[in-house]
């Protein structure tokens, strides 16, 4: 544990499927727009599974950005915490339920579960095989990033806006695509 940052912000999702990748895009935007202290680690988890175990193990705080399907209308932003997190996975609201839920279950079995897990999620609009977020999600992404910043603040961490914000890899790539863009 010694060399790990206390707080892990992890973006989950498939960037090749429009809004499915909203979690990755939000985490990428957070990292590119804000200066974060060294006790915050930002990871692009994509749709991976077992590789994330080492990131999650015994981590005091995990903030996960993800696309969610709560049954609410598209664009709805949610914050799930405490008992809502395992429930979130059990009812298969997340597309990546199998990988991450298995990991959290197994870490619990091993007494190595993260201290707390908070999910910041958005209900997606478009899930086609295209690079970049839909126009509608783009209009909501700032709000999602703001929720991540609030979440950090709740943990006593100040995210300072960068003087010269940059654009991440997926954001830049999306601009080469048709009309869509990632952030």
């Amino acid at each position: 544990m010694s060399d790990k940052a206390d707080i892990l912000v992890i973006g989950m999702g498939n960037v090749l499927m429009q809004d499915e990748g909203v979690g990755v895009c939000a985490a990428e935007a957070l990292e590119n727009r804000y200066d974060l202290p060294p006790n915050v680690e930002v990871v692009d988890g994509g749709t991976t599974g077992t590789e994330l175990m080492a990131f999650l193990r015994d981590r005091p705080h995990v903030i996960m950005a993800d696309a969610v399907n709560t049954g609410a209308q598209a664009g709805t932003l949610v914050r799930l915490s405490g008992d809502e997190v395992p429930a979130f996975f059990q009812t298969k609201i997340s597309s990546h339920q199998l990988g991450v839920s298995d990991l959290l279950g197994l870490l619990t079995l091993q007494n190595e579960a993260p201290g707390d897990v908070v999910i910041i999620g958005m209900v997606p609009y478009q899930l086609e095989n295209k690079l970049g977020l839909s126009e509608q999600t783009l209009a909501r992404i700032d709000a999602m990033v703001a929720m991540l910043v609030d979440e950090l603040a709740r943990l006593g961490v100040k995210a300072t806006p960068k003087a010269n914000p940059t654009r991440g890899y997926w954001e830049r790539q999306a601009h080469m695509g048709e009309s869509a863009s990632c952030v």
């Binding site: 599974g49 077992t50 175990m53 997340s94 298995d102 079995l109 095989n129």
Partner: protein, 568 residues
């Protein structure tokens, strides 16, 4: 009365696969359909892009096989422009892919498919002393002691008491097809937990060479971006190489003392499953772990075997071997795409045309690949058979070891090679291959250290792209089998890109001649004791290690019903 069973989705791994079977009065499968339930058009995203960056996109095809698609993509582009790469780059890629394969095989057995055979809940009734004695009779692994068995049982008890079955929630506990004693079950659960720790060492190897995890950053068309300097603090140096060596040793210990023992030992109680699940016995695998800049010398052989007869083995000999290049085609006759043509991947089309699930017509988003007009099974079983057919020493040795363990545990006097053409045979082959991959991993590491020691630190040859059209392909013997990427480049930009993935070979629907695919053929005559809980169907499908995430992606979150049984 014939009953139709639909399993949708076939879970435990990301992706969306639907299996339909008809079960007759004799309780056996008489018809089977394998269907990918979501359209995959990911390759279209690559059109117009820089071929040097294609791998960054292809490694996002799938959450399980990221590195696999990265490596195959750069190979395809290098093949298109005739670019050779430095030996160090081949070896670094080989280390990454071997480590990934070891990790993937361990996780498949213990965490994705063991629960088809191991009754986790039954482990609560085991006598830990007896379980330890049994485990110690199989191997000298340090994690087989009474203390470990007791601790495992206590943890499991607390976990189950919590009402939180988590990863075990989808198991078929108490199913009549479960045959292991509580003690064998407890041993398997203990190893399940130990495997979870061990597999992480493989991830560390990939991460330290890949530069970043979970998505590697060190691939490049022309080699790898790792700088090599044994004395530098910031690049691939001696300290890091020695760390990798230590992690390989840890993996080696577990795989050879535990995984390669558990599979034949557990398999001994399920020898009836050597009689089910053969299906397509034409086997395809490709050579891998190239040793020279061109890709003509390989540490791991591959090729084609017809009708399960090892004497028919024909090797694939290089990255430019026309035997592979000209043999691959994909049929969309039974898939939801425009037209019903059978096309070579360079000419492949991906225009969707959805219709209902038509038993005799189109019923899948996955196309049906063929090798010279015939279906082929891919995966560790194909690979092991090809290696044995070509006289590969390690594969032959480990196959014999596995047979010896089965004989000792089951008391069977003879286990014929034909037993491998089966559901349980695919598991056995995967554990055998895992041993081969570990030996190969050791060898790649040593060769890299030796080559650097000679003063060769080259890792990259810069690519250049000609005007006009060039075509290339790259292949890789991935954990799930033969993977190939096919690229057409025009004026330095991608014009067409097709990935023919292992699960497409195995999970594809009927082909242009209406011949069933490997999943479908393997399910024929499988017994189904309880149609509401078709564990046997899952056993055979899971034995292929399905990963439909890249064959097709996307999960239908509204889909709650898993098994539907209909009387016909």
């Amino acid at each position: 009365m014939t009953r139709r069973i639909t399993v949708d989705p076939v879970t435990r791994i990301e992706g969306h696969l639907r299996i339909d079977v008809e079960v007759g009065d004799d309780g056996k499968v008489s018809k089977a359909w394998s269907s990918g339930q979501m359209w995959r058009g990911i390759e279209k995203i690559l059109v117009g892009r820089d071929p040097r960056e294609a791998w960054l996109f292809t490694q996002r095809f799938c959450g399980v096989c990221t590195t696999v698609h990265a490596i195959t993509s750069v190979r395809a582009v290098e093949n298109a422009i005739g670019l050779e790469i430095p030996v160090n780059a081949q070896l670094i890629r080989n280390i990454i892919q071997c480590a990934h394969a070891v990790q993937d095989h361990i996780v498949h057995f213990y965490h994705l498919s063991a629960v088809d055979w191991v009754d986790v809940v039954s482990a609560l009734d085991a006598d830990p002393v007896a379980a330890s004695k049994l485990a110690e009779s199989l191997s000298g692994w340090h994690g087989n002691g009474v203390v470990e068995m007791k601790a495992t049982q206590e943890r499991l008890k607390a976990f189950v008491a919590n009402g939180q079955l988590g990863p075990f929630a989808s198991g078929f506990w108490g199913h009549p097809a479960m045959k292991l004693s509580p003690e064998v079950n407890l041993m398997a659960v203990a190893h399940y937990l130990q495997a979870l720790e061990i597999q992480n060492y493989a991830n560390k190897i990939v991460a330290i060479l890949g530069g970043k995890t979970p998505h590697i950053q060190n691939m490049a068309v022309g080699g790898v971006s790792n700088s090599v300097n044994l004395d530098s603090q910031s690049v691939l140096n001696l300290e890091r190489l020695m760390m990798i060596k230590a992690w390989i040793e840890k993996l080696d210990d577990f795989v050879k003392s535990v995984y390669m023992t558990d599979v034949p030992a557990v398999g001994s109680f399920y020898l009836d499953w050597a009689g089910y699940g053969s299906g397509v016995t034409d086997y395809l695998s490709v050579p891998d772990c190239p040793q020279d800049p061109k890709g003509t010398v390989f540490d791991l052989p591959g090729g084609y075997i017809s009708g399960g007869d090892l004497a028919t083995f024909k090797p694939i000999t290089s990255y430019n071997d026309p035997f592979f290049r000209d043999g691959v085609a994909e049929s969309s006759k039974h898939a939801w795409y425009e037209g019903d043509k059978t096309l070579h991947p360079w000419d492949g089309e991906t225009e969707p045309k959805y219709d209902d699930f038509n038993d005799e017509g189109q019923y899948s988003w996955i196309k049906a690949p063929t090798f010279y007009g015939k279906r082929a099974q891919v995966g560790p079983l194909s690979n092991v058979l090809c290696m044995v057919a070509s006289g590969h020493e390690g594969a032959t040795k480990y196959l014999n070891n596995a047979i010896d363990i089965i004989k000792a545990v089951s008391g069977a006097s003879d286990i014929p090679l034909a037993a491998l053409h089966s559901t349980i045979g695919r598991h056995a082959a995967r554990s055998i291959r895992c041993g081969v991959m570990l030996d190969t991993l050791h060898a790649q590491w040593q060769k890299l250290v030796d080559n650097i020691g000679k003063g060769d630190t080259d890792t990259f040859n810069p690519p250049s792209f000609p005007k006009g059209v060039v075509k290339g392909y790259g292949f890789h013997e991935a954990p799930r089998g033969t993977l190939s990427h096919w690229v057409v480049i025009e004026d330095g930009k991608i014009k067409n890109y097709q990935a023919v993935v292992p699960s497409t070979w195995n999970a594809g629907p009927r082909d242009e001649n209406d011949a069933p695919g490997p999943y479908e053929a393997s399910l024929m005559d499988n017994p189904v004791a309880d149609p509401e809980n078709p564990l046997e169907v899952l056993r055979t499908v899971h034995s292929f290690d399905p990963c439909i995430a890249c064959a097709v992606h996307m999960v239908d979150t509204e889909q709650n019903e898993i098994v539907k049984v209909k009387a016909l």
